[in-house]
């Protein structure tokens, strides 16, 4: 192993934490990741699995869309086995949709997303189950992510590189001396044993739980959990991601995966990310919306309904001071905003751009340590997901 620039402790075993710890190891840091439960047991794993070409976001935000298409190309190279890369169709269903289509196409092209309108009869030959009343079809490079195995590939690679990954380990306190982070006190959930892990820097990637984690350093960050519901049916009705061509709304995406089709999503505001319940009315609503795109969705047996919490950062001085690493991904340097050096919180982002979130976060880590940055994650193929279990775990407590 290369000599370490320092020991970084990452809190949160979701997609963001996975990409961060992988990048840290490649960059020559030693790193430990702690996660309260199983890996990806928060928001990441419950993702409906869309690999976003960016077309869904382009009209609203070219920058996010451009980042999506760049990351799609990168993930196809570094983690092809965790992607069903079957492309996607946007379908215009109403006159309003048709009126919106020129803006949609322009926005996608400005964001460098390779989109093309295809004849409707060709679209129906690709996806025989879609609504035959569709008025226009646009092909985009969407796909499906395995929301458990893609992050696991990052974790497997990090672990093989010497990262310590400790699941069922909760951070109880972020410790400091003279205004700088010194480490964390954690509880091993299985035994109740508490112990200290020394760290030169602590990165919180706890998503909807970022507020709870920051509290353990005595810092307030207003994070509101914003859950969304998804519904899966017991048959794969489409091979490509099917989206409603309109300004983004509820239930306008059907993501196929293995033998299932999944419709998402909705969004509401909750108090506690741990006690989210799926509202029955939203299940019926989503099935109805899905049936507008694929009429057979309604007749297909129900498989599962679940909800996942996006984190929404609210208004506060530290959030205002936070650096926008992209439009929807912010890093709060608590050294600047809360007088605690060596502690940063990263909030937001999207599953498709997890690698980029890792890169931007580790840019900040390198800045903190004064290390020359050479990010190589875009060109480093990841180990297969099963390597996570086949590799002798480094730093795992007995």
């Amino acid at each position: 192993m290369k000599s370490s620039h320092g020991h970084v402790l990452v809190i949160g075993g979701g997609g963001t934490g996975a990409a961060i710890i992988h990048d840290l190891l490649l960059q020559g840091f030693s790193a430990t990741l702690v996660e309260r439960g199983e890996l990806t047991s928060g928001t990441t794993g419950r993702h409906h699995g869309q690999l976003h070409s960016g077309a869904r976001y382009a009209a609203g935000d070219r920058e996010i869309a451009r980042e999506c298409i760049q990351e799609v190309e990168i993930l196809r190279r570094i983690a092809p086995e965790s992607l069903e890369m079957n492309y996607g169709l946007f379908l215009a269903l109403t006159p309003e949709d048709l009126a919106f289509a020129p803006d949609f196409l322009d926005a996608c092209r400005e964001a460098t997303i390779p989109v093309r309108e295809i004849p409707l009869d060709q679209a129906f030959r690709m996806e025989p189950n879609v609504n035959r009343q569709a008025r226009m079809a646009v092909l985009v490079p969407d796909g499906t992510i395995d929301a458990w195995r893609l992050p696991l590939q990052f974790f497997a690679t990090a672990r093989a590189g010497g990262a310590a990954i400790r699941t069922f380990t909760e951070v109880m306190e972020i410790e400091s001396a003279a205004g700088s982070v010194t480490g964390v006190r954690v509880r091993e959930q299985a035994t109740g044993r508490e112990y200290r892990i020394a760290a030169d820097m602590v990165v919180s990637a706890a998503g909807a739980w970022a507020g709870t984690v920051a509290q353990r350093a005595g810092i307030h960050i207003p994070v509101t959990p914003a859950p969304g519901t998804m519904v899966a049916v017991k048959k794969r009705l489409n091979n490509m991601v099917i989206s409603h061509l309109h300004p983004a709304g509820d239930g306008d995406i059907i993501v196929p995966q293995r033998g299932l089709s999944i419709v998402g999503s909705t969004q509401w505001l909750a108090e506690d990310p741990d006690s989210i319940e799926v509202p029955s009315a939203q299940i019926e609503y989503l099935v109805r919306r899905a049936s507008e795109m694929i009429p057979a969705f309604r007749e297909t047996p129900f498989h599962a309904a679940w909800a996942a919490c996006r984190p929404l950062a609210g208004a506060s001085s530290n959030v205002e001071d936070g650096r926008k690493l992209s439009r929807d991904f912010i890093a709060i340097d608590h050294g600047r905003s809360d007088n605690l050096k060596g502690f940063i919180s990263v909030i937001g982002g999207k599953a498709t751009v997890l690698r980029a979130m890792g890169e931007k976060t580790v840019d900040l880590v390198c800045e903190h340590f004064g290390v020359r940055r050479e990010c190589t994650t875009a060109v480093t193929p990841l180990l297969p997901h099963r390597a996570y279990y086949n590799t002798v775990p480094a730093g795992r407590s007995a």
Binding site: G45, E127, A190, N239
Partner: protein, 252 residues
């Protein structure tokens, strides 16, 4: 923008029933579980995993279990539920109560961890034993058989999808052979057959790795693996196919 954001109230619905969950609580070093009971309110769509989340967030935050996708795709949440090996995320609680009632049993849901894995605590296990004998270099994608014959965009060769096997370990935990002797177990053997099917070039190499008493000849044909598989892999069928491939290669 979501229509539901306009409503500031978090959606909460009344329970339609309650169930008693009897859960095996274990800690490292004490193999005999202590049984704890919890009364959990139910909605029609409540699954066992929802109930565990309810217990952990409202009654007892020391309860440990694995979960990730909540829709039967990741394979992390396998458990033994009322004696059956099942995914907690797709096991509906009202259905369990109905079955219990038909059998004249109490409205109780008994939950235990998957055997044959390494117990962490409570219902959480480390699934490392499951992955021990998977074939090296086996991919996870296959050609999609859905809407067969449909046109494919010129940008790709074919429609693909992930393998059916979600590596949940239910087949391994339910296999009577795994409990009595060293056996590569159904999940790994099924993966061998899938890999040979996709890459016939590797057949000789891979068949050599399973042609043993701990490989395909260790199967006693209890068929529990195929019965419990939540995604229709039917591992027993793959084991028989591997046996047939080996016999055929010997004749050649």
């Amino acid at each position: 923008m979501s229509n539901f954001l306009a409503d500031p109230r978090e959606p909460r619905e009344p329970a339609v029933a309650t169930a008693v969950f009897r859960i095996a609580r274990s800690r490292p070093g004490s193999p005999d579980p202590a049984w704890r009971e919890y009364e959990v309110p139910l909605k029609g769509h409540t699954v066992v995993l929802d109930a565990l989340e309810w217990i952990r967030s409202r009654v007892d935050n020391t309860l440990l279990y694995r979960h990730s996708c909540h829709h039967g795709s990741c394979g992390t949440c396998g458990m033994v539920i009322n004696g059956e090996h099942a995914l907690s995320c797709t096991t509906n609680v009202m259905d369990l109560l109905e079955k219990s009632r038909e059998a004249g049993g109490p409205p109780t849901v008994v939950v235990e961890p998957l055997p044959t894995m390494n117990l962490i605590a409570d219902l959480a296990v480390d699934p490392a034993p499951l992955f021990r004998d998977f074939p090296a270099g086996a991919g996870y994608l296959r050609e999609s058989e859905f809407n067969r014959g449909s046109e494919v965009p010129r940008e790709i060769e074919r429609f693909v999808r992930f393998e059916n096997c979600i590596e949940c370990g239910l087949c391994v935990a339910a296999c009577p052979v795994v409990r009595i002797r060293d056996f590569m177990a159904p999940a790994a053997l099924a993966a061998y057959n899938r890999e040979i099917g996709k890459n016939p070039d590797r057949a000789a190499e891979l068949l050599g790795e399973v042609d043993s008493d701990r490989g395909v000849w260790g199967c006693d044909r209890h068929l529990e693996c195929s019965r419990v598989c939540p995604t229709g892999v039917y591992p027993a069928k793959h084991i028989v196919e591997l046996q047939r491939r080996i016999k055929k290669s010997r004749e050649a």
